[in-house]
């Protein structure tokens, strides 16, 4: 690992100021991804600003504003605590499931909610510094596009980058229309919807999100919804546990009788950001919650997929996973 200076931040504003003053500085929270990338020489910060002791870990009911009655989750709270908080388990079980589908018990105890959103791709070409990678080193090319791309994107990729975004938590947050609150060094705050928070690669795959240098994730807000009774997170991976998704689906339904009033579907493992299956959602609204309708919606969504040489299997897998997630959401977690 390359040498770096280490500073413990005293408060959020001074942390952001320290970061803003140094383009090569990075925040350190849980460190589960950043330290690994530093060991691999992918990330080379000159300074780490440790923000892990700043607080910002509360989980509470929002008492005012547009998301009144929803829940606010501290950006520096641990994944384990978010997943197991009674308010989350009761009202947003989809989020609990998604968090618990990711990583291991040890890593969830370390990883923060904000840090989870800022995970980098696990594309092996990004991790291997001897390989070309536009995300790691803009302009060097993409090794995966014509290389081994079994794990890679089928939606929204560009000639520059075909990497997928790795978080499970964020897939549920996208389905639940979460909002990310950030604050910069001047104390200015802004709220970013999950739909806008992460980017597609386009010509700048080095940028995963729309955050600017120095902005700190202070909290994540979940608006109130009626999905708690009918939601499910399906994760398909190469082994039963502790692996990144090939395809994952966060599905949530609100029904009246057997009629679908609202539908939310987000997919992981298929794109450079959480992929909202908007086409499938629109097709489901007003329809009966039947397997036939689930299949129609799924195939409409997956028809737009553009698989690469080695990942065409993800199209059919996505199809079936959407149907399965919707069925399990309807049947209280049973297929």
């Amino acid at each position: 690992m390359r040498p770096f200076t280490y500073t413990r931040a005293k408060d959020a504003t001074s942390a952001s100021k320290l970061l803003t003053g140094n383009p090569n500085a990075k925040f350190l929270a849980g460190g589960t991804n950043l330290l690994d990338l530093m060991k691999e020489d992918v990330e080379r910060p000159s300074t780490l600003i440790d923000i892990s002791e700043l607080g910002l870990s509360d989980i509470k009911t929002i008492s005012s504003g547009t998301n009144k009655g929803g829940i606010s989750i501290g950006g520096l709270g641990k994944n384990t605590d978010a997943a197991n908080h009674p308010l989350i388990r009761q009202n947003y079980p989809l989020l609990t499931q998604a968090i618990l589908a990711g990583a291991s018990g040890q890593i969830r105890n370390m990883a923060t909610n904000g840090g989870n959103l800022l995970q980098r791709t696990r594309c092996p070409y990004f991790y291997e510094v001897a390989m070309p990678c536009n995300k790691r080193e803009p302009g060097t090319g993409c090794g995966a596009k014509e290389g081994i791309n079994r794990m890679h994107a089928i939606f929204g990729w560009s000639e520059k980058c075909v990497a997928v975004y790795p978080s499970d938590m964020a897939i549920a947050l996208a389905a639940l229309d979460a909002v990310v609150n950030v604050r910069n060094a001047s104390g200015q705050e802004r709220s970013i919807s999950m739909a806008d928070f992460h980017r597609l690669p386009g010509d700048q795959p080095e940028k995963d999100t729309i955050l600017t240098h120095g902005e700190l994730i202070t909290s994540i807000e979940l608006p109130r919804n009626n999905f708690a009774d009918k939601s499910y997170y399906v994760k398909v991976r190469d082994r039963a546990s502790y692996a990144f998704a090939l395809v994952s689906v966060a599905a949530a339904l609100e029904t009246s009788g057997n009629k679908i009033v609202q539908a939310r579907i987000a997919m992981g493992g298929v794109a450079h950001k959480p992929w909202r299956a908007l086409k499938a959602e629109q097709l489901l609204v007003g329809k009966e919650a039947t397997e036939a309708n689930f299949k129609l919606a799924a195939s409409a969504e997956m028809a737009d997929a553009k698989p690469l040489e080695h990942n065409a299997f993800k199209v059919e897998l996505g199809n079936r996973s959407i149907v399965l997630a919707l069925q399990m959401a309807m049947n209280g977690g049973k297929a």
Partner: protein, 276 residues
């Protein structure tokens, strides 16, 4: 800038070979080098085993090539040829030193560390607590699992610098004197290991896992996460899911699950090797 050893600095537990060690190889060891590194044999007989030879031997060991001569090789690798501390581990070479006070297994420790130093390396190389193991060093195997402030974490992905004021419990701190922790006893009874390398991490993980279950934590295989009715009673499937961050290359998983289930349920569990 930190200069000089701190109070707790001790001779490094790893022995290294002096560059000018006089030849004192046994016949078996000479045969081993003749077989594996014939191009280096004369030099070894002349001036002894130096670090380059040693590293080469370790590389062969890593590749499994030593298997046939394992007994001799093991003896050679384990033999302290010299107690010189390698210069790169002398604390004077610390860059970007950070002072850290933490409590390890009940003892207050104060030391200055290189900002890059992980908790794992600090435990092993500065505090001589070599129970926690470095498996992958990338957070994928769980061999380095320790308990920090009551939570199981990966010490290979934790900077020592970030442990200010924290309480660390390692495998060395689980027993009370000669009284083993119930989880350690259970791993013995159920033969929850073969080579033993992952075991300290497995046991630390298991101890903390039972605490999580007592708090009613859910897992990905929990049927209904909305029901949180106090302490969770774990099925074997639950234990497997919750232990998935600890890899055992020997494949002692059925025994590990049985060991944890026995402590969790408080009832005797049949030893897997008797039930088949």
């Amino acid at each position: 800038m930190f200069i000089g050893p701190d109070d707790h600095e001790r001779p490094n537990p790893f022995y290294t070979m002096d560059e000018h060690e006089s030849p004192d190889l046994t016949e078996d060891e000479k045969r081993l080098f003749a077989d594996l590194m014939p191009e280096d044999l004369n030099e070894i007989l002349d001036t002894g085993v130096n670090r380059r030879h040693f590293l080469k031997l370790m590389t062969l060991a890593g590749g499994g090539i030593l298997a046939a001569q394992s007994a001799v090789a093991e003896q050679l690798i384990a033999r302290p040829l010299s107690e010189t501390i390698p210069t790169e581990l002398v604390p004077a070479s610390i860059e970007n030193g950070v002072n850290v006070s933490l409590k390890v297994n009940g003892t207050a420790r104060k030391l200055a560390v290189d900002s890059r130093m992980t908790l794992l390396d600090t435990l092993r190389e500065r505090l001589d607590l070599t129970g926690s193991k470095k498996g992958c060093d990338h957070g994928q195997c769980g061999a380095c699992t320790v308990i920090v402030n009551g939570h199981r974490v990966l010490s290979c992905l934790t900077l020592a610098a970030s442990c200010e004021g924290k309480t660390v419990q390692t495998i060395e701190g689980l027993a009370q004197g000669s009284q083993l922790h119930p989880m350690q006893e259970s791993f013995l009874k159920h033969d929850g290991f073969q080579c033993g390398f992952c075991t300290p991490g497995q046991i630390c993980s298991a101890v903390a896992l039972l605490d999580e279950a007592k708090k009613g934590h859910a897992s990905y295989v929990t049927e209904n996460v909305r029901q949180s009715a106090g302490p969770a009673k774990l099925s074997n499937e639950e234990i497997r899911e919750r232990m998935s961050g600890n890899i055992c290359r020997c494949g002692a998983y059925p025994n590990i699950v049985a060991a944890i289930q026995e402590v969790h349920s408080g009832k005797p569990v049949e030893q897997v090797f008797r039930s088949v």
